[in-house]
């Protein structure tokens, strides 16, 4: 018995050790990551199916993240030249020799003169760079050349805002899609259903950014919603307070609606279809024949059955939401990392754009992981399958 539980105990211990190293920042992050991975591998041999499933799922996610990081690095490296070599060419052309030497020094400093694979390994922290191991694994995200600041400083505030915005949108999507989808299934082919379908189709067909423009303008004219920006001007740079939080919440109303509408429409249609299938089944007819209250008939079992794909669907929803938030942020000048990404891509600011792309991809991956874990908790069929 104790023998069987050995991998589980060892796994949890290693995982705790790794996470602890992260949390206290006592040792550099690399051993922490290694300990976490080792812990997860050990947990795959655990006796409990749920633990095994979670460990498996986490490991796949880490693998996917690794592949994505390579992909992202290859993509941002595609355009010929980079910010520094463009700068050097420009300086040469204007005859500023001393600055050229400085820029060339920077190129060596950030190992931009080495081949692609080596640069990737240095960026990730698998390979020693000019200053030893110093990459994303070690918590060093590189430097933005254009802004002349560390990437971590540039994106810190934007990252928090991006996560907050996307969370708010997910909550909005679920809170609206659930009742709307359920009502349009129960009242199928009545005016309520058609109205919901119409709203849904408009949400699907209007480009996000235009909805943003229209809503920004009319929201301001009709109910005085603030135009653009993430918070009122006097709060920028202030520490967090209730007043600031209120201001941010008010500014988020329009973007949340804009980003969420398309996803909400798709999710609503799917819930409607699932629930309609379920409502035609004999057990529902039996319940109705036995005189169960109409609301209970729908909510008790059919809704729960139809809800399963609803949770699974977050995998489709999240990439779409993150994309939407990047675009809408540019239009509404929200302080997410969207506008920063656009500027970084335009000026070929390698490390900045690379890190942001990796971050938004990681955001969707983590979201999908959470949805999968939720599903495993809700539905025993899934966690027992592995």
């Amino acid at each position: 018995m104790t023998r069987a539980r050995l991998p589980e105990i060892a796994g949890f211990a290693l995982l705790a050790l790794g996470l602890g190293a992260f949390a206290t920042a006592a040792v550099p992050p690399t051993p922490g990551v290694a300990a976490c991975v080792a812990g997860l591998v050990a947990l795959r041999r655990s006796a409990a199916p749920l633990t095994r499933y979670v460990a498996n799922r986490c490991l796949t996610m880490l693998g996917a993240l690794l592949v994505i990081s390579a992909l992202v690095f290859a993509i941002i490296d595609l355009p010929p030249g980079d910010y520094l070599s463009n700068l050097i060419a420009e300086l040469r052309a204007t005859g500023q020799a001393s600055s050229v030497a400085q820029a060339e020094f920077l190129m060596r400093e950030y190992a931009l003169d080495r081949p692609l694979v080596e640069r990737y390994a240095i960026w990730m922290g698998f390979w020693p760079g000019p200053h030893g191991f110093s990459g994303i694994l070690q918590g060093d995200f590189g430097r933005s050349f254009e802004l002349d600041r560390p990437v971590a400083d540039v994106v810190r505030e934007g990252m928090a805002f991006t996560i907050g915005l996307n969370l708010a949108v997910v909550v909005f999507v679920y809170l609206t899609a659930l009742p709307l989808g359920a009502i349009s299934a129960v009242k199928a082919n009545t005016w309520v259903d058609y109205l919901a379908a119409l709203v849904g189709y408009i949400g699907l067909a209007t480009p996000n950014f235009l909805l943003a423009l229209v809503l920004m303008y009319y929201g301001n004219v009709a109910v005085g919603l603030p135009i653009g920006g993430g918070m009122a001007r006097e709060f920028i740079g202030e520490p967090m307070s209730w007043a600031k939080f209120g201001s941010i919440a008010l500014h988020m109303v329009a973007p949340v609606i804009v980003i969420g509408t398309a996803g909400m429409a798709a999710m609503m249609r799917r819930l409607r279809a699932n629930l309609l299938d379920e409502l035609g089944k004999p057990y529902v007819v039996t319940a109705r024949a036995k005189g169960v209250a109409p609301a209970t008939t729908v909510i008790r079992y059919p809704l729960r059955m139809a809800l399963n794909p609803f949770v699974a669907d977050i995998g489709n929803l999240l990439p779409q939401l993150v994309s939407g938030s990047v675009l809408v942020s540019v239009v509404m000048s929200l302080p997410t990392i969207g506008p920063t990404l656009l500027a970084a891509l335009r000026s070929q600011d390698l490390f900045l754009s690379g890190f942001i792309l990796l971050f938004v991809s990681a955001l969707t991956l983590v979201g999908m992981l959470i949805s999968d874990l939720l599903l495993a908790v809700i539905d025993p069929r899934i966690r027992l399958a592995t």
């Binding site: 994505i68 990047v326 891509l345």
Partner: protein
């Protein structure tokens, strides 16, 4: 005819209810799959209308030069931010035929904006089926300046107003359709090719190949599309011509879209592999190529066509978003997204709301594709 107290018509022929039922059954059994599909598709009114609408605009694309009153890049200094001119039929209660009232645009130095005034005294009749304006090339071969609608003599015809360079928005929407509508098709073709090959390989061979493709599908599916599209289009060198850029953008749009299709193909393959007729073909020594092309392909092609139709709208919206952000189609070319780029400025939209006009065709086309795709998906499975 028998005497009937209520004077209803009753046929004298002997009635056999069983035969009647049988006849109905037979009609459906004998009907070919295509007939069943068509019958079912025709029941979706919205899908039928959408199909005809899309067919009409796609057929019109090569003839835009004849249909648009102006060229795509014709500029008129007098008509900067000109307001829309309505087509009218009655002048002072008298029928004159289709005409417009001339509008005079002046710059209001106080409000710092263009002000447009309609001159209700001079009706200017539109000209039809004549030559006017700069010549355009039909299919790059014949040079002509023949047009279906021409602006009135000495006047202008801006049905949807003009933009900041005095270009006619109505004509530009028509020209922009050429790019905005084909981008989606090329993108879908690219994603279809990748999805079909990868999904087919994974589904047919299974094992390690299947595992590898499935992982790839998972990774690509979890990428947020727009940021990657942005990164890829930022990589297009600035020196490339509009046509090359257009093709690159279409390919970029297709490159991220294949996982959905590949997954559909893979699951269909896995299901069909177990069918007896595939086993029979295998036992008779048919090559994998033949089995896939002759026996399996026809069985899921219809399903794929519906998936493709549903994939086009996201590509059109993607192109619009990219061009809107300035990383898509580039200036001499015209696309709906590029035109909407002017609307990025909220003040301009408030003063000159007709800048948002390209929004209408975008929504119409996207909705039409969605309805058509839904209808096709339902109809292509007539035995369900």
């Amino acid at each position: 005819m028998k005497a009937d107290p209520d004077a209803h018509y009753v046929s004298d022929e002997p009635y056999d209810p069983a035969a009647d039922l049988k006849a109905l059954d037979r009609a459906d059994l004998d009907a070919s799959t295509w007939r069943l599909i068509l019958r079912r598709f025709n029941r979706h009114r919205l899908a039928v209308v959408s199909g005809w609408f899309l067919l009409a605009i796609y057929l019109a694309l090569p003839f835009i030069g004849f249909l648009a009153p102006y060229g795509a890049t014709d500029r008129d200094d007098e008509r900067i931010f000109a307001a829309p001119q309505a087509v009218r039929l009655l002048h002072e209660g008298r029928f004159v035929g289709p005409f417009v009232y001339p509008r005079v645009e002046t710059f209001d130095m106080g409000a710092f904006r263009m002000v447009s005034e309609e001159d209700r005294t001079r009706p200017q009749p539109l000209r039809f089926f004549t030559t006017c304006g700069a010549p355009h090339r039909f299919l790059g071969l014949v040079e002509t300046s023949f047009r279906v609608i021409c602006p009135p003599e000495g006047g202008s015809f801006n049905l949807l107003g003009a933009d900041r360079l005095g270009r006619d928005i109505h004509s530009r929407i028509m020209w922009g359709a050429q790019i905005s509508l084909t981008v989606g098709l090329i993108g879908v073709a690219v994603s279809f090719a990748i999805g079909l090959v990868l999904g087919g390989v994974a589904g047919y061979f299974g094992g390690l190949t299947d595992a590898a493709v499935s992982r790839a599908i998972e990774v690509v599916r979890s990428l947020p599309e727009l940021p990657i599209w942005l990164a890829l289009s930022a990589a297009i060198p600035p020196g490339w011509g509009p046509v090359t850029v257009f093709f690159m953008i279409s390919i970029i749009l297709g490159v991220l879209d294949w996982p959905g299709l590949a997954r559909a193909v893979r699951s269909k393959f896995l299901a069909l592999r177990e069918e007896d007729y595939v086993r029979a073909a295998e036992l008779m020594g048919a090559s994998p190529k033949r089995i896939i092309a002759v026996h399996m392909m026809p069985n899921f092609m219809s399903h794929l066509v519906a998936s493709c139709t549903l994939a086009v709208p996201s590509m059109i919206l993607g192109e619009t978003a990219l061009s809107f952000l300035g990383l898509g189609i580039r200036a001499p070319a015209v696309s709906w997204g590029l035109m909407l780029n002017d609307a990025l400025d909220l003040t301009a939209v408030e003063i000159y709301p007709w800048l948002l006009a390209p929004l209408a065709p975008v929504m119409m086309v996207v909705l039409a594709y969605s309805f058509l795709g839904d209808g096709l998906r339902d109809a292509l499975d007539p035995y369900s």
